[in-house]
Amino acid sequence: MSILLTRESRVIVQGLTGREGSFHTEQMKAYGTNVVAGVSPGKGGTTHLGIPVFDTVADAKLKTGADVTGIFVPAPFAADAIMEAAAAGIGLIVCITEGIPLYDMVRARAFVVDAGVKLIGPNCPGLATSGEAKVGIIPNHITTSGSVGIVSRSGTLTYEVIQGLSQAGVGQTTSVGIGGDPILGLSFTEVLQLFRDDPATRAVVMIGEIGGSDEEAAAEQVIGRGFGKPVIGFISGRTAPPGKRMGHAGAIISGNTGTAASKLQALKRAGAQVCDTIEEVVAAAGVAVGQPSSAAHR
């Protein structure tokens, strides 16, 4: 078991024929993902990397029964690509694209919510169900299958945790990078609920960062209400000076909300174990799933 994605998922790639789309689709296929189609308007009827290409998402879904899409199209067109997938009834939309205008995303998000489908991202690394399938850009060789779920706002820190766990002999169910933008699809709250209800996931690592209040919301609404499995929390940006904007549109501290201290406190109060470094996160996750030897150094 896992959440959101399995080896049976039928995946399409929007922007398949672009540079990033091509590179990462090859990686996704090599990982074992069932990539059934690509969508590139105007290139319908051709094949690329041995994958049939369609002009529209609706067409690709009709012909292949796709239920997941990975979006690699450039930022000016990405919100439209998200809505096209939602309108076609694709159940899980994973948008990797960075730099989408906020108003475009505000509208696309409302559209996705109305369509009743799930969106991960944008500006995210996507997700991987270890040993089964991945949609996005998480490096292939770092995952191993096991029982720890990961949810993270930061792409590169997601990789750090996955690799650290794998090197310590602790496998993962699904790793989800929800993205660092202010306007997101699935939040910590929603992904944590999925992990809570997944019997294969025995502990969850949650990697947050300064800015916004999604970590606090997840602590109060999910972790603190009978989560039933250990949650290991980590917040990056603890030494960032207030008022400085650190790259992620999301990582902005304003007033007293969104600070590392407020997030760490909320997580502790909800009963999560809070760690200082990624190494500690890895060790704690190992202990949580009964592999105390995993505290070994890398």
């Binding site: 505000v106 930061s154 960062e209 603890r238 790259g247």
Partner: protein, 377 residues
Amino acid sequence: MKFLEYQVKERFRAAGVPVPDGRLARTPDEAALAAGALGPIAVKAQVPVGGRGKAGGIKLAKTPADAKRVAGEILGMTIKGYTVKEVLCETAQEITRELYLGLTLDRDARKPVLILSAQGGMEIEEVAEKNPEAIAKLHPDPWRGPLAFEVRDLIFRAGLGPLQAQLTPLVVKLYALARTYDALTIEINPLALTRDGGLVAADGKLEIDENAMFRHKDLHGADDTEEDPLEAEAKRRKLTYVRLDGSVGVIGNGAGLVMNTLDLVQREGGRGANFLDIGGGAKAEVVHSALELLASDPQVKGILINIFGGITRGDEVAHGIIDATRDLRLTLPLVVRMTGTREEEGRRLLEEAGITPATSATAAARRIVELSSGSAR
């Protein structure tokens, strides 16, 4: 992208938002001419930061001679690092009440939010903190925008019912402006109620979403090159850079990773000199440019590069590092930690060039803190 007050007000005027009569002056004589034409004026420093009133950047002038004198005082002043090159000379308003009207992004609601308060002016942030019920909010549907009855409701909730007829079209216009310009923030503060009962935008702010600049190529915002010169240089190089106060230069890919690297440096007893995110998929040239930027900072006593490859490829990063250390004859201590996509190629290239990659982020942070404190004279 930010705009100066006069630039914002030009857009307000074009959209039918009432603004005071005003003229831009670059010299005291021009300010005197403005006062001659407009009568008593407010002389206002044009800088892309708040708090200029408290810094002495806004003064009243009753006569052309007054205007010349106060403009002479304000022009050339430095306010929060910005030198005042222009003043806006505006007809002095007889203000009976200061309101606040603005729009920003509410990330918790995942929507833009219109904000209206009967208690506007310089202390609006304090009002928001201490007296939140004095602030009324409306989250318009992002597809249809605010409807008239929703706007009326906002106005009544703000306790501004008697001004409803005047305020409703203003709120609608402000929202339209926000959409037109992809505004992250657009603000009228104070929105002044004048003695004759009119509403006028006494000050205005506008910041455009950088991600949407491809739709606004014709717009020219505030010249903010007088910020920190390194930040200005970073902007020219299209690097995401923030100056900090330590001595360890940090380069990484991904905001979370870079922030975590800074946390690790601090944990090991050092302090970061900067935040520098080369982003996803960075090419060798970007790494080169980032290293060149940090090497030009006299505050930097050592550089830590932390790369975890997803879209970013280790071999590309390694090429950038190797070329930069050679081209720049880099003598500063340099520690590289690299893992992820094309990690083996990257590490091999670095080792061949005599740079030994660190084994973990923590080890790398410890090493650079040791090396950079040693090289600090």
